[in-house]
Symmetry: C2
Subunit: 312 residues, 2 copies
């Protein structure tokens, strides 16, 4: 298959077409992923998440550039919380950063958040695997750390960076708390703003509370991504974390967990789809929906009936 060979040789067009196939659920998508899968597992996956307005895109770009300076190739998958109305603010940001988008060693792809959830999670994972198979050394997954889905996406990374910013409101603080536990590294971006010391102290205090439970204490790094400040130090912290993952055996644990999650996701998706197709062909599904709506039957009883009739 030409497309698969193209991806494996690192062709930008092939990578792009493969991700499009996955994103749009083309028929050949599964076959492509089956052939690419054995070539995955070599890249180091970095998740970057944080609240809206934390400057994640700029930070992602600067981290990517730092890795390029070290001679490494980089793939970026950005989960883009935009709709057809806006045309994509993040994409706009990317286009302005011409020095990175014209670099052959960097491949950037935005994924739309529209459509089904499990779908987004799997499609992002598949896009990451395509970039992995294409030989990218570092793959950065950038997402807004607010929804559980987005958190679930980044937490499958090897190293997760949670980006904070001083001086956001209370509501943001609450959200922040929800993503604290997935951070391997904290970056306080826009660290030239008021409130940076307070935020730093708060983070360290929370880490103190959690200290005896973990073998890795997440470092807190200050950055001003727009001025490229603190980026080399942040990448240094990522390198430290990679060493920790290898030495502690944690990398193996995380990757077993990821393999398990991948298998579960594939199972959920394909079995549901298979059963639904069978029910649709026979017209049974529509009549089931009608009986649910009329409250003649409940969904739970119907599904139990489907299971006992279709599974052995």
């Amino acid at each position: 298959m030409n497309l698969v060979e193209g991806v494996l040789s690192g062709s930008r067009i092939a990578i792009s077409r493969a991700i499009t196939a996955v994103e749009n659920e083309y028929d050949e998508a599964t076959a492509i992923m089956q052939k690419l899968y054995p070539h995955t597992g070599k890249a180091h996956l970095i998740g970057i998440t944080g609240p809206p307005g934390a400057g994640k895109s700029t930070l992602t770009d600067k981290v990517a550039k730092e890795y390029r300076r070290q001679g490494k190739t980089v793939g970026i998958v950005a989960i883009d919380p935009t709709s057809p109305y806006s045309g994509g603010a993040i994409l706009g940001d990317r286009i302005r950063m011409l020095d990175i988008t014209t670099d052959e060693g960097v491949f950037i792809r935005s994924m739309a958040t529209r459509g089904s959830l499990g779908g987004l999670s799997r499609k992002t994972a598949d896009a990451v695997k395509i970039l992995d198979a294409a030989g990218k050394d570092i793959i950065i997954i950038e997402t807004v750390g607010v929804g559980q889905s987005e958190v679930d996406i980044v937490k499958n990374a090897d190293t997760t960076i949670v980006v904070m910013v001083p001086g956001l409101g209370d509501d943001i603080q609450a959200i922040k708390a929800g993503i604290l536990e997935i951070g391997d590294i904290f970056a306080i971006n826009k660290a030239d703003r008021d409130g940076v010391d307070r935020l730093n102290i708060e983070l360290e205090m929370m880490m103190d509370l959690n200290q005896d439970k973990v073998s890795w204490r997440p470092p807190v790094k200050r950055t001003v991504a727009s001025m490229n400040q603190g980026i080399a130090e942040l990448v240094g912290a990522i390198d430290d974390h990679i060493r920790h993952l290898h030495q502690s055996g944690e990398l193996e644990t995380r990757r077993t967990e990821r393999a398990r999650n991948e298998l579960l996701a594939a199972l959920d998706e394909h079995i549901g789809r298979y059963v639904l197709n069978k029910l649709n062909v026979s017209g049974r599904f529509d009549s089931m929906v009608a009986s649910v709506q009329k409250r003649e039957k409940d969904p739970y009883t119907l599904v139990a009936e489907i299971i006992s009739s279709m599974l052995r």
Copy 2:
């Protein structure tokens, strides 16, 4: 079953225990939902979503109070983006609003966003059904409109209110766009702030673009929830929307769609779980995970093998 009878009679303790059963996936949860399901479908479901900091909790409380003033009973399900670290900012807000939490006609429940995604969506839907079966006239689902999961949750409501706020940054604007299409009504909250006219104009312009596609043009209402301003008008707009839903047949369409989604969700969840249990009992699942991790097999091929061996 006592608990089911308790819910049907509107007992707060029974409602609370039923939601806890659903949230923690107790064994009896499915049986409870099966028995309650025939009693659902009477409440009007209102989704309230918007970016962090828009003042959704306060608005929700004021809308609830307005309905109480009209003699209607209200259930509130709040999707709470907090973690064990924080203890729950929203819960804190609720506790401060003593006048509403001590009102016997209002039942408020926060759902944790931790845990699986599909899980959250289904658990929220089940909590709503419990409140529906308990006879609440109005059920408000309040969630942060950033993640796709949260958007998916509110869009199953009969009437969805998107709450905006003047003067948020660019990143927020991008997110805002992602939830525009699900709004039946727009509330510009904190409308005493600068930028309210500009936001109002922007919203109306977007609506103009979309006008010929829809039979209902979402009204834009200005509120200052903290001062109870504009709340009666907002509830008036909800009443208008309810009339529109009935007259246009759209209510039927939406509820068919909801029944379909419920059935699909139950299907996905239970079939996956059934298959997984079978694989776990035989120890096959762990060996599959190991072979995926070693790249001996890919998840897609394995799942195809499971389907052909287990389904008829």
